[in-house]
Symmetry: C2
């Protein structure tokens, strides 16, 4: 992909001499941006642009051009791509819209274009995009007139599904005195997908921070795996989240909507920072351009008590610890204070320190004796104090180099001063405490994610909860089931293959067999009607509980037969007898095969906690024990598992073990589309599957 | 207060000729800002500043100066304030720190200063502040050097507890090309409080929008009442929210922390917009400078499909409705589209409309036939397209004047372009969709609050749920109770005074009386030990339930007596017999007298919903039926009241009526400090108080 972003030669297709011809505007941008390589132009008529001839055919082009940019009507694209292929072009950016985002005809055209590209081993960007920006290499394939100073070079690389969002991101970065390394508008992702660009940016030496704007996710699992192993911060702005916007997305870039709550959970699980606005990108990029924040200890210095209070509030909100000011620092610091009226704490109020030269030694001393993971300095100054502020920034710059700590500067002054400081001193300045705090929190979260992941990676390779051969046994059961939805006892057998406890049970054809089974498993028991024609047993009264003796067992079987006949179902039914589980907390464990992320697992407390309060935890499977434990603690109702109002605590370890096993089951058996263990009873000791439902691919 | 912000003459106290003398810097600021009135200077030594003499005593000053600004050591303040008083000064700004925010000595000094001011009927700003800004009148009492162009004049007036936060707010407004009408740093609020400034800003013809930054709230109820009746938007940035920051606040401006969740609820109830960052102020001020958004219908026009999807997501998040594009608009609109590839919807994607002149007629047409409450236009353009953008802005400006609708422009370009548009055309520009959407939502929320409030105000005056004379009867019971915590049956009597149903009960001295009462009220019943020494009956096993007959009643009384003796309590106890309430939803209704807001009321479902999930609704009392209904629907577990899993729905109307009555009770009887009805059982029909606890002032 390097020759896409650093093409040694470049072809623009569709150029004419008309001033409003869009490919002409692209070519003019390239000239204006001083693209250093060879530039070729092709159009329907011969002509000239600047000093570049416009050719009217591919014939005279040299072989092996690195990059072609095409913006002509959709119907003409296949032939032009074919022309490129014949000339051994390596990459083609198709900017034209009118493909998969419109109608079936467009989709068919898109398939045709992809086939041609594959035939020639060409790779495609787009279609329906504005291509790429690489200001260091003079690349700007946008079809509106742009000036080089609109796209300052920097260390952030970004991709956006929409061309205009690409530009908006660049403008937002620039407004914050940040530049762009590379940008690509990925459009319909006919060939290259977001994960391809991500892989490239991850290894690109000129990229420090990566941003992705996505409307749909093409290969969720690959995205997650790349993110988890990334050595650079990756932020995602995922739009197209609401039901209502699914329609607009389809007509824009044919994106697929996935459940946004799952997206949130998966991103968090794999260390992808999700941002919610363009500005957050700029803030995070500022924060991440500082050294990483490895822990929670924050030392705050402020020229203003009012901002100190705001900082304390926010430190609390973002989970930072404000370690106490040690006595030795206090003693030493007091020499700088003009008045002795404010006690020394963290945030340290420097309101009465009028000699700004003392700030640097004070902060140095605090770093030495407080050992913080990060420092924040809040400074409000008028227009006239620019030089004092600049001197401070230079001082903090050298402290940062010395201690390799993030020193977040939160300066409040005229915008002119802020811009000048950032531009002249190349140090990020936050204009309010909330911004700086959020950025530091993002940095800390990323550090901590990677620390945790490294620790787990060592464990994960050797661990497996479920027994050897489980997958094989479960697969046999799945294969032998007659329907797409397994019968309850078949689902039980799948659970048992993974050694997930099911209370004693047996399947009876008639009352006699039921009696024998009942004797074996003991009363009280539950009895369930098993017949392929009935998926939701309880809907027809097919479940009877608390059967305490033989007499009530026989009565129950007669009742169930009557109810089955009443439904007009004339099948032969079996009766599932199952020992009742008493005392324990009802929970639900669910799983499904998600189109975007593959197998995912859900956990929540049973009944109203899931149905009314929607209080569930989601993860991409498989999970390890730490992740399973996090699922049980992140739900709001988690404390109920510890026992409230005198109840015994539930066996959280057994629950965690079960979650891991089910996640392994879902991963081992991709043919399972849905799984519901509802309820699973978590007892004082161990768990019991009371009901299970498994659906598989037909 | 007008002579504070528009003083016809002004005195600065503490001035010397030394360049770093702070009062001198204040005086120089006034000169630099072209303060138009007479300026007097006083210092310890005679001298000159510019053309102004520095006097060394109050003697030669004229009588009746409007405003004096003092910044000298704290200990000198009483004498200087006395000096001002003798000369009939009307307002004094004390900028010096070292008063109530430090120690007892400071507090005593503050009381002394206040007494002097009151003696002369002078009003005070501060202490511990930077005073006021009024750029239209050349007032800048800040003690750092400032330039007039740092404080552009505008229509937003603000107050902040901290001087530096005052400046930060002004800088944030200016960075968004907004100016300030008046600003005041309110400091320790020794005399003038936030509600005084608020009252002034509310009637000030040069103020359109008001912002308050508060660390503590001096008179919560007055603040709320002013907000509810305000004809201008009032935004509050309330800091000092975390437990940890309470300490810092005390040492800064002696602010008191109140429960932040209650602050949220009260602000919402009375229509105060709470902002969470300085930037939000600027965004809201931009939004509120447009005509108000009266409803939920939003029409979105976008040059970019990608931003359209983002807008759809956000419209959904903020509860906007995106009405469909009517057929007639579609037909007419299509003439402007270059390609026919995008279907017309809302957001309307103008990506293929290259003639920007058609935007205005298109939007006009949509306003005519869609009747939206607000319009958003998203436009991404390069540096070079400034003129096109400016033309659009002018077009939208006239549309806005014609239809008096908010037209939020969300433009993405270079910062230079955005600043130039805002400055040249005086039209607010949002740089991202999230900003514009949030600002429109704030505008809508304010409009809808006032609409709702006006509708309620008409009702409220005549309505009262609780019976005539209730307060008198309840007050008698409170007065006759021996302890600060009422005995359970006394609390029942208070409830009954307000006709809040309590199940049949009676108080027995011994087993014989208990038997007689039991016969009257019927079994099953509960029995509770009543003795002033035991506040929490259940802690010593003082409650026994489900007593079904005389025999178990006698046994229960013996058991209770034994338990009481086991506690070493030698008092004579009574026995409260109470008919058991079966079947119904347990809820909790609580109340307390809050230091900031007075009587407040709490509602939640009983047990784990409150204890574990913390799922409660709060309001300032009294509330009306609509507010009570909102309390029952805003909790997460609200749906449980409708009955889930086959349960009968609870009587929400009776619950609402009870909430209103209890809110009236709390309001009528300010001597009640705490009240807990826990549980209140909400039955299929009606409610029943099962246990009640009331504490009163000693």
């Amino acid at each position: 992909m390097n020759s896409l972003f650093y093409p040694k030669n470049l072809l623009v297709v569709g150029v004419s001499e008309k001033p409003d011809n869009l490919p002409r505007i692209i070519a003019e941008n390239l000239i204006r941006f001083h693209y250093p390589g060879e530039l070729y132009l092709i159009g329907r008529c011969k002509g000239n642009l600047d000093e570049h001839p416009i050719l009217d055919s591919f014939e005279t082009l040299p072989q092996g051009i690195d990059l072609a940019i095409i913006l002509t009507p959709a119907a003409t694209i296949p032939d032009l791509v074919e022309g490129c292929g014949k000339k051994g072009v390596r990459h083609v950016i198709v900017e034209t819209g009118g493909f998969a985002e419109t109608d079936e005809q467009g989709e068919s055209l898109a398939r045709q274009v992809l086939a041609i590209a594959q035939k020639y081993q060409m790779r495609l960007v787009g279609p329906n995009c504005i291509g790429i920006l690489n200001p260091q290499n003079g690349i700007c394939s946008v079809f509106v007139k742009m000036e080089p100073d609109e796209i300052p070079p920097g260390r952030v690389s970004l991709m956006a599904q929409s061309g205009a969002v690409t530009l908006s991101l660049v403008y937002m970065l620039a407004a914050n005195n940040l530049g762009v390394s590379k940008a690509v508008s990925i459009g319909n992702k006919l060939d290259y997908r977001e994960t391809d660009y991500l892989q490239y940016f991850l290894q690109d030496p000129d990229t420090d921070i990566i941003l992705m704007h996505l409307e749909g996710i093409s290969d969720g699992r690959k995205l997650l795996d790349l993110a988890r192993d990334a050595q650079k911060p990756v932020m995602v702005y995922k739009s197209n989240t609401s039901q209502a916007s699914a329609h607009a997305a389809h007509s824009h870039t044919a994106a697929l909507t996935s459940d946004d709550r799952l997206v949130d959970a998966a991103f968090k699980q794999f260390g992808l920072s999700r941002i919610r606005s363009l500005r957050e990108l700029a803030l995070f990029a500022k924060g991440l351009s500082l050294p990483p924040m490895h822990g929670n200890r924050l030392a705050v210095f402020t020229r203003s008590g009012g901002h100190g209070i705001i900082a304390t509030d926010l430190a609390h909100d973002f989970g930072f610890e404000l370690p106490e000011c040690p006595q030795e620092l206090m003693e030493n610091a007091k020499q700088y204070f003009r008045a002795d009226i404010i006690d020394l704490s963290n945030p340290l109020d420097l309101g009465t320190v009028f000699n700004f030269d003392s700030y640097i030694p004070l902060v140095r001393q605090s770093i030495e004796c407080m050992q913080p993971d990060g420092v924040m300095v809040i400074f409000v100054f008028p227009q006239d104090d620019y030089e004092s502020a600049a001197k401070l920034v230079r001082g903090f710059q050298s402290l940062l180099e010395e201690y390799h700590l993030p020193i977040a500067l939160c300066f409040s002054s005229t915008q002119e001063n802020i811009d000048r400081l950032e531009k002249e001193l190349r140090y990020p300045i936050f204009v309010e405490v909330a911004d700086a705090m959020r950025a530091l929190a993002a940095s800390r979260d990323i550090s901590q994610f990677h620390k945790k992941t490294r620790a787990r990676a060592a464990l994960r390779s050797t661990q497996r909860c479920s027994p050897v051969g489980a997958a094989g046994r479960a697969r046999q059961i799945l294969a032998s089931s007659l329907g797409n939805v397994l019968l309850t006892h078949e689902a039980f057998l799948v659970c048992e293959a993974y050694e997930i406890p099911v209370p004693p049970w047996g399947l009876a054809k008639d009352a006699d067999e039921a009696e024998r089974i009942a004797l074996k498993i003991g009363y009280p028991l539950a009895i369930k009607l098993i017949t392929p024609g009935v998926i939701h047993k309880s809907d027809i009264g097919g479940v009877m509980l608390d059967i305490v003796d033989e007499e009530s067992l026989n009565l129950a079987i007669e009742t169930l037969k009557t109810r089955l006949r009443a439904q007009g179902i004339d099948e032969k039914a079996d009766f599932l007898l199952q020992k009742m589980v008493k005392d324990g907390r009802e929970v639900i464990v669910g799983g499904k095969k998600d189109n975007t992320f593959g197998p995912v697992i859900l956990f929540g407390l049973g009944g109203i906690y899931v149905e009314v309060l929607n209080d569930v935890a989601l993860r991409v499977a498989p999970i390890d024990e730490t992740e399973a434990m996090e699922m049980t603690t992140e739900i709001q109702s988690s404390r109920l598992l510890d026992g409230v109002r005198g109840e015994a605590p539930s066996d959280r370890e057994a629950l965690v073990d079960t979650l891991v096993r089910i996640s392994e089951l879902l991963t081992d058996l991709p043919e399972i589309t849905e799984l519901d263990i509802n309820p699973l009873i978590v007892c004082k000791q161990g768990v019991q599957v009371v009901d299970a439902r498994i659906a598989r691919l037909s």
